[in-house]
């Protein structure tokens, strides 16, 4: 008879976006997928996913982040297994994650005054040179324009075309929608966010759970730090900052970074066209930027 070794205790930091789940009463969670640096748990409805990530993983805004790197860890579970989540703990057979503190995910803040249209247009052009599929940028433009103009039918049509469009884990269309939502959050007008957010929410089940959870976070302006920084630099008209944040964004996933940039570029085109209010516009200089 062999004795099983006790589970390893690993401290973690929780996200305020999933604090209710993590700190709430214990519940059963279904393992959706395991990777060296991430464990994805389904913790409720289709869009409710709790990522547990290692210290060297992409900083997904909803994740519980561990203090150890991927190479130092074995999850010891498979997709389809159930684990316990709640009371500030994630209990796996070989691992006890104790959520001992909270971390603050990156969030796109409202930029009170947008730069002049010419600058936004130039940024959109520059970003578009990095795209392999410019059609995604056009689709982003269409859905962003519809949201800004209160065109519910146009928003729902665009959402239907984009949500779940693409083969993989976070389909390309979802990444585009994420970027549009983040731009709208940065502009700060609640009506378009509500319109697009509702259209996306009504179709959660059309895409993967992880992607739906990231869209939910984007609806509140939350994203991985690289993307939040890029959106905010772009909305401030900070060319140098945007250039700096572009490379790490393009490096996300194999295509996700590019698709996010397509959504950003398409949205900037809309802002350039609808923000043409010369009396209120101003030109922001690249100098003096601050970290988003």
């Amino acid at each position: 008879m062999t004795r099983q070794s006790p589970p390893r205790d690993v401290p973690g930091a929780g996200s305020p976006l999933t604090q209710t789940v993590v700190a709430g009463p214990q519940r059963q969670a279904l393992v959706l997928a395991t990777f060296p640096s991430a464990l994805y748990l389904s913790v409720g409805d289709h869009h409710e996913v709790l990522p547990i990530v290692t210290s060297d993983a992409l900083m997904l805004p909803t994740a519980v982040r561990l203090s150890v790197a991927a190479r130092e860890l074995e999850w010891g579970v498979q997709p389809g297994d159930t684990v316990a989540v709640g009371r500030a703990e994630i209990r796996l057979p070989a691992l006890h994650v104790r959520v001992v503190r909270e971390w603050r995910p990156a969030r796109v803040r409202v930029v009170p005054l947008l730069p002049e249209p010419r600058l936004l247009s130039e940024l959109a052009d520059r970003l578009s040179t990095h795209l392999r599929t410019p059609e995604l940028m056009d689709q982003a433009t269409a859905v962003c324009r519809a949201a800004r103009s209160g065109d519910d039918a146009g928003v729902r049509r665009g959402t239907r075309q984009l949500l779940g469009a693409g083969l993989g884990l976070t389909p390309s269309g979802d990444d585009v929608l994420c970027a549009v939502l983040l731009v709208l959050c940065g502009v700060g007008d609640p009506a378009p966010i509500a319109l697009l957010g509702a259209a996306v929410q009504d179709r959660w089940s059309a895409t993967t759970s992880l992607s739906a959870s990231l869209l939910q976070a984007a609806r509140q302006g939350y994203a991985v730090p690289e993307v939040a920084a890029l959106v905010e630099y772009a909305l401030r008209g900070d060319l140098a900052g945007a250039h700096e944040a572009l490379t790490p964004t393009l490096a996300i996933g194999h295509s996700s970074g590019q698709d996010l940039v397509a959504g950003l570029a398409g949205s900037l085109r809309v802002l350039a066209a609808t923000n043409a209010r010369p009396d209120e516009s101003r030109t922001l200089q690249p100098a003096g930027r601050r970290n988003p």
Partner: protein, 511 residues
Amino acid sequence: MTDLVEVRRGAYYDSVSLMQVSKAVRDAPGISAALVAMATDLNIDLLAGMGFTVAEAVGPNDMLVAFRGEDQTAIEAGTSALDAALAGLKAAGASAGGFGDAPPPRTLGTAAARGGANLALISVPGVNAFVEAMDAVTSGLSVVLFSDNVSVEQEIALKDAAAASDVLVMGPDCGTAVVAGVALGFANLVRAGSVGLVAASGTGAQQVMCLLDIAGVGMSHCLGVGGRDLSSAVGGRSTRQALAALAADPSTESIIVVSKPPADEVLAAIQAYAGTLGKPVHWAILGAGRPDLTAAVEAALPTSADDIPVWPQWISESQIEASIDTKAKRSNGFLRGLFCGGTLADEAMIIASERLGPIRSNIPLSPELALGPDLNSDSHAVIDFGDDRLTRGRPHPMIDPSLRLERIAVEGDDPTCAVLLLDLVLGFGSHPAPAEELAAAIAAARKAAASDGRELPVVVSLIGVENDPQGLTSCAKTLQASGASVFVSNARATRRALSLLASASAANTSA
């Protein structure tokens, strides 16, 4: 036509990976359509548009596999292609593309910790080399530091850290190492055996390993230590580490230490240390009054003096005729040595200066003999084209011989050049076909001299073994055909060149 539609749960991949998988399946023999995708609504629509029917209940977190083959054999081929492509993704860590796969290592230390390597080969600009090497050493790796322009202070700090971690720093400026049969940098494909080398000299180590191979003796490892290791400042720090490593290595039965002229006190201390190791240690140390490298190898061979091999040589026809004709006039003028190997150049100067007196050089035996920046000389001269000042912004002459080839042409036109002494180093890292270009340059120089009424003897020391990619004998014959005499021993080649000089002959007679 046969369709296969199946659901794979818990399989998460990014879009690009699934496109690659779809293409791999589509390329399988007999497959006419294929799609591998997450089962989102749009992808199910896409499948329906392709004529597939998804029979069972699926959700967007499931992965759908669908392909169409002309018969069951095609479906089996498609399934094999699918499994192979997915396995390939897993092996490459490509799953999820950033949403869960381990991020690629960003530092040498991280790569080491993840990969389980025990040796790092570092070849970055010198200004960055220290940081990388220290990262490797503190991560428990031995280091081959190919980079040059590392300061002595940094070299000492690295080697002290290595000693503390019980690893070895080979370098800086270590161009040659062979560890357990793996050639790192410039090295020859010599046979495996029981002699270990510790080398503070790149081409010197290659000369020794090649002579051992030609003598039928194999090598266990060649651990480079960097050309400055036996200087007063560095104090033989890596030589000690390397000696200790070879002493502990069961495949090594005896050791040869190869070095350019060292600091006397350092050599004495290292020799005292070597005496404590319990394995025979032989010394191939260049310097006035010391045996040349060939003699040192002969002394280290595990045979009696009578069994010392006849080192191969290929004498040119013109030099055979000259040697038969005892009245043949020796060449008036000066020795010109044009080398790629610094240690070979050093050895040639040490041997030649015993007969010729002072020899000018860009790596002179004493500072007052330094050549000017134009490298011109109206006396005996030896130039090392591998010297750092001549390789700045260009490859080493063992890779790109163009500078030396130009100089050979210049010497062919120079009536004061009496004998041309060259080296050619074969093996990994060197030019893949160096003999042809060198032979053409030799023939052209001899022709230019002949048109001026002069005979220009050329002698080449050819450092290599038969198994080298370039082939020893074929290179030797190519050079011989151009009018050069070829020796596998640099010392023999140098003495041959001296024998062709009237001034050397006179000096020898008067000595």
